[in-house]
Symmetry: C2
Subunit: 208 residues, 2 copies
DNA sequence: GTTTAAATTAAACAGTTGTTTAATTTTGCT
DNA sequence: AGCAAAATTAAACAACTGTTTAATTTAAAC
């Protein structure tokens, strides 16, 4: 598993990831990143060209192997509903582990005008959607899933539920009494994941 | 229906709303707002105190009557599932009409540190949750809704699905062939709303 | 050891940021 | 009319923004 980035670049990328997730893309300055990563402010431009291109590199760095994981999931010998459950788990786990890059990826990056890497990212999303679609069609032909669901709207429900929970972190930490970081993360891994799986299962199977 | 803000303040608030929704809070400068609203840049500080307090005022301005609408919905003579459907419609309609303030409200405002008005906003969210809870408990006691759903996680599913769709606007416009603004908004009002209603209904009624 | 390229630095660049000041104009009141 | 409060203005403030430059240090190759 070799990356196109050297050690120093990876440090910059990971520091940037943390700060972007904490304070947003606009809210993070190159000087913030440089200080945290203990490098000179010129190094970001030197290695990545610009702040925007740093963001593009970060997204590339974090999404390069997602497609591979999805492809492996599809060919596993599992019932469709089990595949869906695993896909949900996979998504949540990745998003949660990668600190907060997906927040930028799905929200902030969308509003940036640079059409360069945005196209590549759009392709990634289309690929993910195709993987989900193939699982659902498999379930439909087996007669397990209902056929009137709007497949492209399922991803928004999966990811949107998670994001909304995560974006209102402090609200839910207070509401659900999840004082420590561990309690909060554990709640995501168990209850929230279960809720999403339960929701999608009901949507796919329930007959009105 | 009188507001605490005068005409000039309302102009500023509504210009700010549009710009915040377009370019984000950090991405919008006071000079942007002043130019668009055709006022002097000092007027924002003069009327609202600071840029952050302008945001707080904006949220106050836009959420003050939401609770009232929810209270009216609860006492209507409808089946619980119909109330849920109406609640979903109400949410989506409000979010969609108020341009994009809810994006800031639910995402950007959360990451701001100012604990002042954040507390008030948290109370609003708790109130909304209580309204939803009362409807669901009503359905549970009537034996229509299942009893093992995690109620606080339903709002994330409703709002999260919508937000995720809306945040990836250009992606879905391309994917679903919604070239014009009208087509896009119509898709939200029909298909997306239906998808969310369908999802929540399945979640509340489906027995595994 | 010399040479060549890569890495790193401090400094300066030209803009933009939110906010404040002090002066001026407008408004409402008697 | 005169007066006082409110509204509006242009200008300045210091701090921060992303990026570039030119000089210096480090590393690798021969």
């Amino acid at each position: 598993m070799k990356s196109n980035f050297n050690d120093k670049q990876i440090i910059i990328l990971e520091v940037a990831e943390t700060l972007f997730a904490e304070k947003g893309f606009d809210g993070t300055s190159i000087r913030n990143i440089a200080k945290e990563a203990k490098i000179n402010i010129a190094m970001v431009s030197y290695y990545f060209g610009s702040k925007e291109k740093l963001l593009e590199s970060l997204i590339l760095y974090r999404t390069s192997d997602l497609k591979l994981q999805l492809d492996n999931l599809i060919i596993e010998d599992l019932e469709p509903i089990e595949k869906i459950n695993k896909l949900i788990e996979l998504y949540i786990n990745r998003i949660n582990c990668n600190k907060g890059i997906y927040r930028i990826l799905h929200f902030e990056f969308t509003s940036k005008k640079g059409d360069s890497n945005l196209q590549a990212f759009s392709e990634l999303k289309k690929g993910n959607l195709k993987s989900l679609e193939s699982i659902i069609i498999e379930g439909q032909t087996k007669g397990i899933f209902r056929k009137d669901v709007i497949i492209p709207l399922i991803t928004p429900t999966i990811l949107g539920t998670f994001f909304h929970f995560h974006m209102n972190k402090s609200f839910f930490q207070n509401l659900l009494n999840l004082k420590t970081e561990d309690l909060y993360n554990n709640y995501i891994k168990t209850n929230l994941t279960l809720h999403i799986q339960q929701t999608i299962k009901a949507l796919l199977i329930y007959e009105s």
